[in-house]
Symmetry: D3
Subunit: 253 residues, 6 copies
């Protein structure tokens, strides 16, 4: 049995450096603040892009990771723009998961038809990775890492349609106290977001966090989803720390 | 044929004074600005409420109508808190619709299980009203008004679930230039929104408008829906004035 | 402010005595065992039925309540078979809710088109009741009870279609240690379930509890749903006490 | 036990004379041709309408019933345009169902927001009627008729959204050999469909029957739905008489 | 035209030996009992697994096939754990289908995100295979087999979400008299299910079969689905042999 | 910046010559008639098929394009029957899109499980192509073409389930005046549709166009869909040229 010193509690993965910061930055920073050991795994360099280059992007990636305070930030070198689900991509991602042995794995979810097809391929790769992490007798295909069972798969819905609509349970995490850290992490990607573009993005991120948070009474929140019901021993547990209802409810009588 | 001098282009209806301002204020103000003749029909006084009273509420209602600049604002006296779909409520609302003869009727949509059941009953009443407006041979049940065919029924989704998920088409109207007017109209309801409460509501309204607008590239927007496909002669028409895509798309490559 | 000595933590309500036992008996018994103060509110006597009569049914109801160990069991005398959502039914149910001031209210959900229309009407009444419970200035319509805000509305899906498919989150509570109590509570309704019928029902209840539990790794479970996302401060919280995955997952590799 | 001489196999019910002919005329005529005893129950006279009157409408109704060849055609006198689900409407419809004791009851399904609210209320009444038909100890509320269990509830989807989308199973019945009878039955309603209007309606009915039939390889078909899965002893049974696939499939290779 | 002596009526296919037994064993045994010629096609050896090896697994596979009494059981040697939809996998499966010329082909359906990604890839392969079976002019890619049109594609829903929710029709087959055979077939896979694990699996399989059967009034059932409406000549046909309703319905009045 | 002389307004793409004619022929002809510059891109030759050969199919393709009057018709030589989404297919299609620089790209949508898997793969390729068209720094992978942003992605739903049900907006274009041209274009594919088969197809196409048109009051229409809400500046715009409601609505009162 491996030493657990280097183990993580939770890994977030997405195809391009800046995806996790934009989509999940608030939850990542909150988890770190709460003492969890959090890892980020970027599947590709995210390059080429119109204004970036690989060296700059890697620097920005590390700066963002530092802002968020994650214990681990890796980029596993799968190909940007042409990411495809398949055994090799799964082996690559699962090798990292087996190395860090998290309880929870977080994936993007949904087809982003107005943007890159990489996002949906990343979802397929991540879903398969959860299973691959526990495979026995194939350690050599996973850089010699040992099998590990990931207890839970979480989704961050970013795309449209069926993939995001039919989850069994949606959760909203309160990111009111880390929304600034999220914006700061995104701001590290200067090559991707020149000032005017960053302002538009910031407006969008604040609006979306305000809306997602409102459904549970938080000033800012991030929405996640799970593919099966949430199991509880005590039916009142999920409602323990629930704050006041959303603004829209409070104004109706 | 009646004189068309008093006719309206579009009527928005909802159960309580402040509902339309909160839900549809941006679109109302925009339509007024564009030269359309817009009417608002509140079904009830919205009273009692913890901090309000009927006289104050009616004053606030009129002040909000003035801010929005609507041609007509009526309150038709159906009962607050116990609004139920049925012939009498339909006759009352349809009488107003037949009087003003709009081309378009806008209804709230969805069950607001965390708030008043009036909202969903109002949807049922409004759907029936569209049909009642055109009924012949029953003018005496409609205050002597003549039959009128409402061409289109539009929904403003406010509740949950099936009622809001299965529309045939969703539209987002750009309210960037009227978001301030919307907030100003809501602010008229001082009895309902003391300062601290108004601040929370404002945060929510800005967030939601920012999110709904973003899906079509607007700084602020309001989402509407129609219960059947949009018919077009030229397939490119709906895409004529579409602005740039949303911020999230612009940042992905 | 009222003395809290008689307050409840959670109220389950359904139209007919035996509904809650059949649908929610496992969760009720579990909550009682965990020290929560639980109430049951039957809307009608459930009579007439082919084999029952009101006196017998009330005796059976009380026996079942005793088996489950609930703090309160009331029958509020709305009409069986012709239950309809409307102000009077809402006032009746809300008066009881305002009296016991629970944090959580549990409703049946869905249209049971192969059985009684009362179930769906009960859902509508319960949803409205949550709102009615907090209404101010109308204490006289609620037997003089004071306004009370119910924090959370929970559903027990029993019917078909849209009403049960589009919830924001599903929960499964582990009832392995109370499945026997559930069956014992149902068995109290001897007038409704003669031996052969009870055996068929028992087979069904065990099968359904086994299936619902399996989705979260419990031997037996009951499925509940909430109409909005679950708000959390710590994203890992919902997964804290989650047991091993379901049998079907354990056998796949 | 009643004499079964007057019993029916299947009853179709809808609010207005001409509804069943338009929606279900092909299936009705086909069932008659196959030797089933079929009944039609119109809930209202369908009057007033712009061009009709009660006497004419009843004559047209009877003429249409004769064209279709049904064993029974009744109009039960509920109120047109203001039809509402409730005990009295249910008693009225269930009395007829208990009199004729059919195995199958067919209801319209869905909200027709561009047309009459009666259609959806009729669905609610019919769903409740299935249950009311079997009620014991209340014979006096059903004109002295005896309880009867309707085995199956079938839907004819006519409206939009959730009500029509979430059925457990859809069926298409081949009406190729009765499409002409269906049109002839509709044509009986001359007061409702003057020549030019009838032509448009005929075009629509042929198009829809052609489309619904195509999904199962029929020249013309009518789509029905059931609210739960179809139970079979032999899994191949539903596919026994299934004709060739649809044209669109036949042309793809 | 080929000799039909070796033809099958129906083929079930899934990726791993034990999948069909667990998912479809009841229907397979029932069809055999009813005199249909049934085939099973396992796409891979299912190995490696923690406790198994290829030789043992093949023996277990054959033992299970014998218990079920199928006419044909083949394993076509596609790669376990890394199964991917693509031309070669389709050619391999279609070659077997063209050899046995069944009327019906049964596929797993759905993404099993808590288990192997092979299941969903198998669905894609099977859907394509239906089409590939009928391809002309490419006999050499199918081991020289002749084109064959599979009349019907059936699904066995095993995964989550969109893939399993939006079928046109669901069927439940009564497996009450073959549930024991199903369990016996699964029990053949001793390498996969040591005693304690088998007990948990048995509990799950009995619960699920009890629940799926209950929706159609069977003691035990298996749920299947079809991607388009069921075509019928006589609308009453699907309801001919339908047994009594489910227990839950029988107890509600 | 390239000369815009050769640019197109809109490109329709699908896997096999005859797909676009059958699915979109009415809209293509209408757009041409309205003065738009329209292109058709067939991904494969569509051969082999039982009765066709590549030379004949190409001739038929060109004849159909001439009937429709499109400015451009290309066949890009991807492999028929084994079309798979992946980088190479995306590069090939995007190269053509970058060459013609259309504002709108139209894709088939949905899994056609009763027909070729190519249709769904084509959807995936087309979605990715929209993104690939704008990629910078990779001109050499796109035949030296320059990046181009396609403003809008449109879908023509042809398959089943989730892929076609969850669009944000559906549009129906009036093809009453081009339905004949559509049929004439399809008729060019004589190798695919011998007379008897063509008659069945014609019946289907007229029925479907009649049904899709009816939902918006057109004699004949074609249904399209978009993956996000339609953005408008004036909320009344989408309803400007909307004709009278559908026949079914006009007959209901």
């Amino acid at each position: 049995m491996a030493d657990t010193a280097g183990e993580l509690d939770i890994i977030f993965t997405a195809p391009h450096p800046d995806d996790i910061e934009i989509g999940c930055g608030g939850a990542v920073a909150k988890l770190v603040k709460q003492g969890h050991r959090v890892g980020i795994v970027h599947m590709t360099t995210g390059e080429p892009t119109p204004l970036g280059n690989p060296q700059t992007r890697m620097k920005e990636m590390r700066a963002a990771a530092e802002v968020l305070g994650v214990a681990v930030c890796e980029m596993i070198g799968l190909p940007n723009r042409v990411l495809m689900d398949g055994p090799e991509a799964r082996f690559a991602l699962a090798s990292v998961v087996r190395k860090y042995r998290p309880r929870i794995l977080v994936s993007f979810a949904g087809r982003t038809v107005a943007a890159s097809p990489d996002h949906y391929q990343a979802q397929l790769i991540t879903e398969a990775t959860r299973f691959y992490s526990q495979l026995t007798k194939w350690d050599e295909r996973f850089n010699g890492t040992e099998p590990h069972r990931v207890d839970h798969l979480l989704y961050r819905p970013v795309g449209r349609g069926a993939e995001t609509e039919l989850f069994s349970a949606k959760l909203v995490v309160d990111i009111t106290e880390t929304i600034e850290k999220k914006l700061a992490a995104v701001a590290c990607y200067k090559s991707q977001f020149p000032p005017e573009r960053f302002e538009r993005l910031k407006h969008y991120l604040l609006s979306r966090a305000g809306t997602e948070g409102a459904s549970c009474g938080f000033e800012y929140g991030e929405l996640y989803a799970v593919p099966r019901p949430i199991g509880v021993s005590d039916l009142t547990t999920p409602f323990g720390p629930w704050p006041l209802p959303s603004p829209i409810e409070k104004i109706k009588e």
